[in-house]
């Protein structure tokens, strides 16, 4: 339960590996990962690789988790406002919970999120480290 199909992961690979979001062709508002209708009303979008720099809006340390992540606790999770605009939810890695604060500068790194046991796929994604 909870393990994504490798095919679903493959569809989302550019979002998950390259921090690719979308940009509205009309008003240039950026989204991560995407929407169907822009707040300006336009339905025309182009892919846009977002730069992985941002600041923490809120954060927490997870101590009890789901099936997929229960062996990884404790780990830090944060809402991060990217300098490019969109807000993303991601783990903060290589840091102590005590070092985190609202407003802290962070930057993106490519890491493993979880593995499907010993036989299944390895699911990589974007985490953040203190900048």
């Amino acid at each position: 339960m909870g393990i994504m199909s490798p095919i679903e992961h493959w569809r989302l690979i550019k979002n998950r590996y390259q921090l690719e979001g979308t940009v509205c062709v009309s008003c240039e508002k950026k989204y991560y990962p995407s929407v169907y209708i822009c707040s300006c009303g336009s339905r025309a979008f182009a892919p846009k690789k977002l730069r992985g720099y941002g600041t923490i809006i809120s954060f927490t340390e997870v101590l009890a988790s789901t099936e997929l992540f229960k062996d990884c606790v404790p780990y830090c999770l944060a809402l991060i406002k990217l300098n490019d605009g969109p807000v993303i939810l991601a783990q903060i890695t290589d840091a102590n919970f005590q070092d985190l604060s609202i407003g802290l500068s962070v930057r993106s790194v490519f890491r493993r999120y979880f593995v499907d046991g010993q036989d299944g796929l390895i699911y990589y994604g974007i985490k953040f480290v203190i900048n």
């Binding site: 954060f59 939810l89 609202i102």
Partner: protein
Amino acid sequence: MKIAVIGTASTAYGEWWDKSLRQLLAESQLTALTDAGLAPQEIQAIFVANMCAGQLSSQVNIGALATNILGLHIPGTRIEGACASGGLALRAGIAAIESGRADVVMVSGVEKMSDVSHAQGTQSLMSATCYETEGFVGATFPALFALVTRAYMHRFGITREHLAMVSVKNHKNGALNPRAHFRKEITIQDVLQSSYVADPLTLLDCSPMSDGAATVIISTPEFAKKIGKLNVSIIGSGQASDTLALSQRETFTEFKATQHAAQNAFMIAGVTHKDIDLVEVHDAFTMAEIIALEDLGFFEHGQAGHATVAGKTSLQSNLPVNASGGLKAKGHPVGATGIGQVVELTEQLHGRCGARQVHNARIGLAHSMGGLGSTVTVHILAQDV
């Protein structure tokens, strides 16, 4: 709007090792029939609220399960909106009656959480969020609420003690409720010292996973009058939605869907906040109760925590919140929760709540929330005069 509530029933909430999903559902359905004094054949449609049975019990198509229990071939429909499934099922039942499709409708909710591990339950509840972005990165429901909590505390300056007071109050009320999952009073220190689930939320800031079922039978006022059961009616109902993903919100310290749903319900009911005598809110977490009271319009943003500490939402106050013990102490069998709130309000308006009876309870409000306020319903019930 005037939808009569003519029968109610709820199982106790807790860990029911010896009762399955269908046994819990059956118990609440049959007890509600008895409460209403009706034969099964008089029910014309059933709506059943449930979130996790597909994942945890490998059972969907629960609408049919519910009609099977009564031995009927009437329409049976499962309704899902995560933890707001109960509120949504009630709205479906109301719509069936208002449209003239049915005169007498049974609305049930049921959930069976204890057959799987806590980690598996947590995994299943994550399907209420934007799973492919939030589940993928290791979010849990408590973690998402912890992010909201920290943002709220940063903005309004309240402390963990304010949050803890919600839990203390609800446990105190739950101790008076024979159906509650937890019937033990706790202290602020107990909350502060319990282990962290997702900082700053501790175990005692979080509602439990529970098994349970609840049922209400609703009808047209004419039918209720005919059987001498026109005592309590639903007079207002509202529903709204918001983004699945927390990261897509415009604000992290309010839930707009609650605000919109409440506005709709009040408008339909034709009452104001001052008319409300008691409130059952969806306190999945202590923070959720505080934000809900503000979004429902009972307190200004940033004030509900102070109001709780000042005792303004206690059983003895002018606005008792979660007299039942709330999700925190009464328990949270997901699909049943929203229906259970209506059972509680109905019993309060009947004056049948014993030690936890709210005095002069004439109009009550129930708030049911799915995800992080991505699906919200608000219902207002009143005594018939």
